[in-house]
Symmetry: C2
Subunit: 429 residues, 2 copies
C-alpha cells in the first residue's frame, strides 16, 4: 500500500490470546476497518497482561498515527491498559466524575439483578472511571468505556475486548473529532471486491498474474474461505486503469463463478432471492448439525423468509421428523444421494416451505468406511421449479468438513434460485 497513508497499529491484550488458548478476532476486524477507512494497518501485536510487554507494545504503537488498543479495560487488577497508557504518555490517572456516575448507574442495575450490595462494585467502578489526564470517554459497553487520548498529534484509542462491545464502540471512534481529522487527510482508497465460487485460489492468482498483476496504486489480495475465493482490490489514485483491467480479466475468465461484487454473504443473497419470488425457505441437516440454519438466521430479518429447519442427526430423526422411509435408509444408507433427496422433500412437506436444501455426510473423525470415507457429503436442493444435487469429497478435519458443507449447501441454494452472473452488478462502461 502507498507510503503516503497514515499508519495504524493494533495492540491486542489478553493472556489467553498470547498463550494461544484462543484466536484473536479483534485484530483482523480492526485492521480491515482501518484499511477500509484509508489508513495503512501496519502491525497487529498480541500481548498478555505482563506489564513490561504491554508497555513496550503501547510505546511502539504510539509511534503510529493511530494506535488502537483492545482488551484490559475491565474492573479487575489485571486489566491494565488504561493505566499503562497513562504511564507511557506521562499522564496522571484522574477520575472522570461524569463517567463514574454513568458506570455506577450500570453497576447498580447489575448489583440489583444479582442481589448483591453495590459496595462490591464500587472499587471497580472507580477504577474503570479513571482515565489519563486529557483523555475522553466515547461511550460505554457494559461498564467499560472506550477511551480516546491525543498525544503529540497522534491518536490512541482503547476499546473493550469482547468483540460485540468493541464493534459497537468502534463506530463512536470513527465518528470522533480526532479520528475524523485523521481520516480527512486521506481519501479512503477505493475498494472493489469480487467473490467467486468454483475456481481454485491458484487459478485466480494465475489469471491475475496473466493480466499484469498488482502494481503502483493497486494492491490485490486473493483469499480462500470455505470454498469461496475472495479477491479484494485496494485502489489508490493512479491505480484505477490497472484495477479496471484486472477486474475485467477476472470477470471474463470466470463469468459463471462470480457470485457477488459486494460484501453480501451468500446466505443474504439466498434470502433475498427467495424474498423477491415470495418463496419460503427451509433446511434439513445431518452432518452440518444446524450450521446451515444458523448461517441463514444470522441475517437480521431472515424470519420473513426462513421458516425453519430440521437437524436430523440420527436415522430415527430422519424418519420421524422428515418422513424419510426406513427402507430407503436401509438400502442406500443415511449418507447417500437418495437420503439427501428424501430429506429435502421431507423438509418441504413437513415445514410447508417452497424451497429446501438437505445435507448429509460424514464429518469425521469417526464413521468413515472404504466406500464412504470421511469428507463424503451429499446435497440436494429443491424449489417449485427445479432441483439440484451434488456429491463431494471434502478435505480437512471435522470443523472444516462441516463449514465447507455448509457453504456448499448455501451455494447450491443460490444456484437453484439465481441465474449465474445475474447477481453481480452489471459492469460500468
Amino acid at each position: 500500500m502507498s507510503a503516503g497513508r497514515p499508519r495504524a497499529v493494533v495492540v491486542v491484550t489478553g493472556s489467553e490470546l498470547v498463550r494461544g488458548d484462543r484466536r484473536d478476532a479483534n485484530g483482523p476486524y480492526l485492521a480491515a476497518e482501518l484499511g477500509r477507512l484509508g489508513l495503512e494497518p501496519s502491525r497487529i501485536v498480541i500481548v498478555g497482561d505482563a506489564e513490561a510487554e504491554l508497555e513496550a507494545a503501547v510505546r511502539d504503537g504510539l509511534e503510529a498515527d493511530l494506535c488502537v488498543l483492545t482488551g484490559g479495560l475491565g474492573p479487575t487488577h489485571d486489566d491494565r491498559t488504561v493505566e499503562v497508557l497513562a504511564r507511557v504518555t506521562g499522564r496522571r490517572l484522574v477520575v472522570d466524575e461524569a463517567l463514574e456516575r454513568e458506570i455506577e448507574r450500570v453497576s447498580r442495575a447489575v448489583a440489583e439483578r444479582l442481589r448483591r450490595p453495590y459496595g462490591d462494585f464500587a472499587g471497580g467502578v472507580r477504577k474503570q472511571a479513571s482515565l489519563p489526564e486529557g483523555a475522553t470517554a466515547l461511550g460505554l459497553a457494559g461498564t467499560a468505556p472506550a477511551v480516546l487520548l491525543q498525544v503529540d498529534g497522534r491518536v490512541a484509542v482503547a476499546l473493550p475486548g469482547p468483540p460485540g462491545e468493541l464493534r459497537r464502540l468502534w463506530s463512536k471512534v470513527v465518528e470522533s473529532g480526532p479520528v475524523g481529522q485523521l481520516l480527512e487527510r486521506v481519501g479512503a482508497p477505493e475498494r472493489r471486491v469480487l467473490r467467486f465460487f468454483g475456481p481454485s485460489e491458484s487459478a485466480v492468482a494465475r489469471a491475475l498474474d496473466e493480466a499484469g498483476g498488482e502494481g503502483e496504486g493497486l494492491a490485490v489480495t486473493v483469499c480462500a474461505r470455505d470454498l469461496e475465493i475472495h479477491v479484494d482490490f485496494v485502489v489508490e489514485p493512479g491505480g484505477e486503469a490497472r484495477a479496471e483491467a484486472l477486474e475485467s480479466a477476472l470477470r471474463d475468465r470466470f463469468p459463471a463463478e462470480l457470485f457477488a461484487d459486494d460484501e453480501r454473504p451468500v446466505e443474504e443473497l439466498v434470502l433475498q432471492a427467495c424474498r423477491s419470488r415470495g418463496w419460503k425457505l427451509g433446511a434439513a441437516e445431518s452432518s452440518t448439525g444446524g450450521l446451515v440454519a444458523a448461517r441463514l438466521t444470522s441475517v437480521p430479518g431472515s424470519s420473513d423468509v426462513f421458516v425453519g429447519g430440521v437437524v436430523a442427526y440420527a436415522n430415527e430423526a430422519k424418519e420421524a421428523a422428515l418422513g424419510v422411509p426406513r427402507e430407503l435408509l436401509a438400502t442406500h444408507g443415511a449418507v447417500s444421494a437418495e437420503a439427501a433427496e428424501a430429506m429435502a422433500v421431507g423438509a418441504r412437506e413437513r415445514l410447508g416451505v417452497d424451497v429446501a436444501v438437505a445435507v448429509t455426510g460424514i464429518a469425521g473423525p469417526g464413521g468413515g468406511t472404504a466406500d464412504k470415507p470421511v469428507g463424503l457429503v451429499f446435497l440436494h436442493g429443491q424449489s417449485p421449479e427445479t432441483a439440484a444435487a451434488r456429491e463431494v469429497h471434502l478435505p480437512g478435519d471435522r470443523d472444516d468438513v462441516r463449514a465447507r458443507a455448509t457453504a456448499l449447501a448455501l451455494h447450491l441454494l443460490r444456484r437453484l434460485l439465481i441465474q449465474p452472473g445475474t447477481n453481480a452488478r452489471a459492469r460500468a462502461g
Copy 2:
C-alpha cells in the same frame, strides 16, 4: 508469569493477515506449543511485507530467548524473511549447496509435473537455498526450508507460513540441539483450570484477591466467555501452595457454580451426562436458529446421544414441526415461557428423545417491543425426571444474544442432568 522462564516471541508475516483479510492460525498454534514446552510466549506480532515493519519486528523478536518467524519463505521477491534475518543479525547470505541440491530435486519434479522448463525455477531455488552465514536448514516443506540461527545465545527460527507445513517442520525445531538446550533449562509449568457458570467476572476476581491473589510462581487469568468465567492457573515451582489456596478459595466460594476443572466444553459434559444415563437428546430452537444443535454436534461422536433438533423459526414451523398449539402462540406469543415449554414438550414427542431443551427469544436488531425487548429469551428443559425454565434479558447485539442464549441452553441442560459440584473432580487432600 514468572520472570524465570525463557521468553519466546512469534513474528507472523503476511499482507493478507495484517490487512485483516484472514485470521492467523500459526501464532496461536506456536504460542500454545511454546507454553506447553515451558517457555513463556510473550508476544505475537503480525506484519505485512513492508520491509521496515518486518525488520523492526525481527529486531525486537531477537531480544527474546527464542524468536519464531513464520511466512515469507517462498521463492518470490516479496518473501523477505530470511533476507531480513540476515540483515538484522549482520550476516551475509550464503548459498547452502547441499540445501540447493535438495530444493532443486523437489523443483525438478514440480517442473516435470507442470511441463515447464526447470530454468523457470532455478532463480527461486537459489534464493530459497540462501541462508544467513552460520544458519542451518532443518528440513523442507515443499521447496521452503525451516531455518535455524543462533545469535549471541539466543535462537531464531524461520518456518513456512502454510499451517500444515509449519506444523510438520515445528517438530524438527523442537528436536534440534539449540532449542533442546533451551528446553532443558525449564520444566513445563503446571496448568490448572476452573470453569464457572453464574458468578460475574468481578466476583471471581474479588474472591481471588481476598484469597491473596497471584504472586511469585503463580499467574492467574480470569476470562469471561459467553456467560462462563474461565480461570486459568499457570503454576511454577514455588507457586504450588499459593495455587492450592486460591483454588480452594474459589471452590469454597462458588461450589454450585463450578462446572468443570478441565478443558471440556459444556456441550461435551451434557452429552456425557446423557450417555451415562442412556438418554437421547434433542433441541427446539427459535432465536438461536440452530446454534444449540451446531455446538452439540461439534463434538465428535455426538451422534450416539444427540438425535436431532428442530429450528422452528416461524410460528408455522412451531406448529407444524413441534405441535405447539396455535391458540397458545396467539395467547402468549412465540416469545414466552409457555411457548418455550410447549417447544420442549414437542421436541421430546416429535424427535422421540428423553431430554430436550427449547429456546425462544428476540435476537434483534428488529422485533423488540416495550413489553418484549430485544434480548428477552425464554428457555425450557425437560428430562424424564425433572424440568427447568428460565427467563433472561441478554445484553449485546444480535450475535451476542444468540451466542449467549446458546450457552444458557447448554448450561440449563447441564444443570438438569448433573448435580452441582459432582462434575468437577473431587479435590485432592
